[in-house]
C-alpha cells in the first residue's frame, strides 16, 4: 500500500521516538497512543516513551510477503512484550531467522522499514534486534 507523506509523517512520534500514552487512573501504557483507556474509559493521559528492551512472545518467518516486502523475504516478524508490559509488533533483524525463539530477549532499534519504488518516500521506524547484538 503506497504511503503518502502526510500519512507517514503523522506516525513519526511513534515510529521514530516510541511515544506512547499512559493513563492516569489505570497507570496503563498503550502503544500506539489512543484517546480513551479501553479498560477504564479514562481520557486523562500523558505521553511516555517506551522502554527499548523486551522478550519475544510469538513470531513467524514470512516467506511469501506482500508486494512491499518482496526483497526482504524471508524475514521474521514478532510480537514482543517490553519491560513495562506494553506489546508491539515489528520485524526481527540482524539474526538468522531460524534462530528466533519465543522468550528471546530483543532490543528496539531505528531502521528503514519500507522503501518504495520510483518516487515513493522511504519509511523508517523500529525493528527488533537480539538484545546482545
Amino acid at each position: 500500500m503506497t504511503m503518502f507523506s502526510a500519512r507517514n509523517w503523522r506516525e513519526y512520534p511513534q515510529r521514530y521516538r516510541l511515544e506512547a500514552v499512559k493513563f492516569k487512573k489505570s497507570g496503563k501504557t498503550y502503544f500506539p497512543p489512543r484517546q480513551v483507556d479501553p479498560e477504564t474509559g479514562d481520557t486523562e493521559r500523558e505521553m511516555v516513551v517506551l522502554p527499548d528492551t523486551g522478550k519475544i512472545l510469538t513470531y513467524t518467518v514470512i516467506r511469501t510477503p506482500g508486494p512491499m516486502f518482496k526483497d526482504l523475504a524471508p524475514y521474521a516478524l514478532a510480537i514482543a512484550e517490553l519491560t513495562d508490559g506494553t506489546r508491539l509488533m515489528a520485524q526481527v533483524t540482524d539474526c538468522d531467522v531460524d534462530a528466533i525463539k519465543i522468550g528471546m530477549e530483543v532490543r528496539l532499534e531505528f531502521r528503514r522499514v519500507q522503501s518504495e519504488g520510483a518516487s515513493g518516500v522511504l519509511s523508517y521506524g523500529y525493528k527488533f534486534v537480539p538484545k546482545w547484538y
Binding site: 514470512i62 511469501t64 506482500g66 516478524l77 522499514v113
Partner: protein, 387 residues
C-alpha cells in the same frame, strides 16, 4: 422482536471463475435463492462484500446488485466487516425482519478476488489488519495467524499433526460438496509437507483465493409457512469485537470476539453450547479452526487439536465442524463466506446436504461463526430446524 426464518438458499459457482464478473456471481446466487425459496418479491437486500473497491475497483455494491438483479428501486446496502462481511449482512437481514420493518429480505455476500494479481489480493486482504502497526511492518494474514499458531503451540503443545488433521478433515467433507473450489481429499501428510508460507503455517494450512457468491432469503413465520418449502429458525444472532491489532490483545491464543458473540447468541437462543449439534466455523487457516473450536466454548483451551485428531469433529463424530468443507476446501470468497455458512447450516438442518455429506441422525440445532481479520470481529448465529 418477531421470530425470523430462513426459507431458501442459493450459491453461485465457487472457484476461479474467469468468465463471470462480481455482478454475475451475485445474480447467480441471488436468483438461485429466490427460486429455491419460491418468493415473488424482496423488501430489501443486504450484500456482504469485503473490498469491492480493492478487488475490482467497484464500491456502491448495494445499488449495483439490486439493479442487475432486475430490482431497481429496492432498498439495498453493502455491509463490511472484513471476512465477516457475509455473516454481518445476514445479521442485518435478521434484524430488519425481526424489527417488523420488512417481511422478505435477502442476505447475500459476494467477492470477486481473481481480477487482481496475487500481490493485489494480498494487499486487499491485508487491509483487514492494522495498517500502521502491523501491515507497515510487513505482516500478512498467514503471518498473523502463524504468530497465533506459534503462541498456541508453545502454550498448549498443539502439534503440526493437529493442524494437518484440520485440513484433511475439511477436504474430506468438501470432496462431497458440489460447489467446493477444491472438491478432493488431501492427506494430513501432504499438508505437513507442503511449502512453508509463514512458519509454522504451510500452503495447505491456508484457505484459497476464491470468486463466489451466496444468498439466503430471510423472512417471517407467516411467509415461510405459505411458501411450503423447508425452513429453519434463527434462534440467536450476535456480534463480538476485539482489538484489531494482535499485539494489543490480552491473550493471542484465543479469539475473544468469537467467545463474546457465541455467549450472546446462545443466551438469546436460550441454549447452551452442549445443545448445539454441529458448527460451521471460520477456518481461514487450520489454526483458526482449532482456536475457534475452543473460543466458542465447545472444547477447553488447548483441547480442540486432540479432538480433531481423534475424529470427534468429523462428519460422523460427536460434534461435526465444517461439514461443508470449510473455507479450506469449499473456498473463501471473503464477503460471501458468512452467508455460505448459513447455506450449509440450512442444508444440514433440512436434510438436503448433497453426496453423503449429510450429518447422521438429522441434527436439529447448528451454529455458524464467521470472523473478520485476525479475529477482531466475529458474528455468530444459532439456527434450529423449523418446518
Amino acid at each position: 422482536m418477531r421470530e425470523v426464518y430462513v426459507v431458501g438458499v442459493g450459491m453461485s459457482e465457487w472457484g476461479e471463475i474467469w468468465q463471470k464478473s462480481i455482478r454475475d456471481l451475485f445474480v447467480d446466487a441471488a436468483r438461485a435463492a429466490i427460486s429455491n425459496a419460491g418468493v415473488d418479491r424482496l423488501d430489501s437486500l443486504y450484500v456482504g462484500c469485503m473490498s469491492g473497491g480493492l478487488f475490482v475497483g467497484q464500491e456502491h455494491i448495494g445499488a449495483l446488485m439490486a439493479d442487475y438483479l432486475g430490482m431497481r428501486g429496492l432498498p439495498a446496502v453493502r455491509v463490511e466487516s472484513a471476512c465477516a462481511s457475509g455473516g454481518m449482512a445476514f445479521r442485518q437481514a435478521f434484524l430488519e425482519v425481526a424489527s417488523g420493518a420488512s417481511d422478505v429480505v435477502m442476505a447475500s455476500g459476494v467477492e470477486k478476488m481473481t481480477d487482481v494479481s496475487g500481490d493485489g489480493c494480498t494487499d486487499a486482504l491485508a487491509t483487514a489488519a492494522d495498517q500502521e502497526y502491523e501491515v507497515f511492518h510487513g505482516a500478512t494474514f498467514p503471518g498473523l495467524y502463524a504468530m497465533m499458531a506459534h503462541a498456541h503451540m508453545a502454550r498448549y503443545g498443539t502439534t503440526r499433526e493437529m493442524l494437518s488433521a484440520v485440513a484433511a478433515k475439511n477436504h474430506r467433507n468438501g470432496a462431497k460438496n458440489p460447489v467446493a473450489q477444491y472438491p478432493f481429499e488431501i492427506t494430513a501428510e501432504a499438508v505437513s509437507k507442503s511449502v512453508m508460507v509463514a512458519d509454522p503455517l504451510r500452503i495447505l494450512d491456508c484457505s484459497p483465493i476464491t470468486d463466489g457468491a451466496a444468498a439466503v432469503i430471510v423472512t417471517t413465520k407467516e411467509v415461510a409457512q405459505k411458501l411450503k418449502r423447508p425452513y429453519i429458525k434463527v434462534l440467536g444472532s450476535a456480534i463480538g469485537t476485539d482489538s484489531i491489532a494482535l499485539a494489543q490483545r490480552a491473550d493471542i491464543t484465543t479469539i475473544k470476539s468469537a467467545t463474546i458473540a457465541t455467549e450472546k447468541a446462545l443466551k438469546m437462543a436460550g441454549k447452551a453450547i452442549g445443545d448445539i449439534r454441529f458448527a460451521e466455523v471460520h477456518d481461514c487457516f487450520t489454526i483458526a479452526e482449532i482456536m475457534v473450536a475452543e473460543s466458542i466454548g465447545k472444547f477447553a483451551p488447548g483441547k480442540a487439536g486432540e479432538a480433531i485428531l481423534s475424529c470427534e469433529t468429523s462428519l460422523e463424530g460427536k460434534f461435526p465442524i465444517n461439514p461443508s468443507g470449510g473455507l479450506k476446501s469449499k473456498g473463501h470468497p471473503v464477503g460471501a463466506t458468512g452467508v455460505a455458512q448459513i447455506v450449509e447450516v440450512y442444508k444440514q438442518l433440512t436434510g438436503q446436504a448433497e453426496n453423503g455429506r449429510q450429518i447422521p441422525k438429522s441434527p436439529t440445532l447448528g451454529m455458524a461463526q464467521n470472523m473478520g481479520g485476525s479475529g477482531a470481529s466475529s458474528v455468530v448465529h444459532v439456527l434450529e430446524v423449523a418446518g
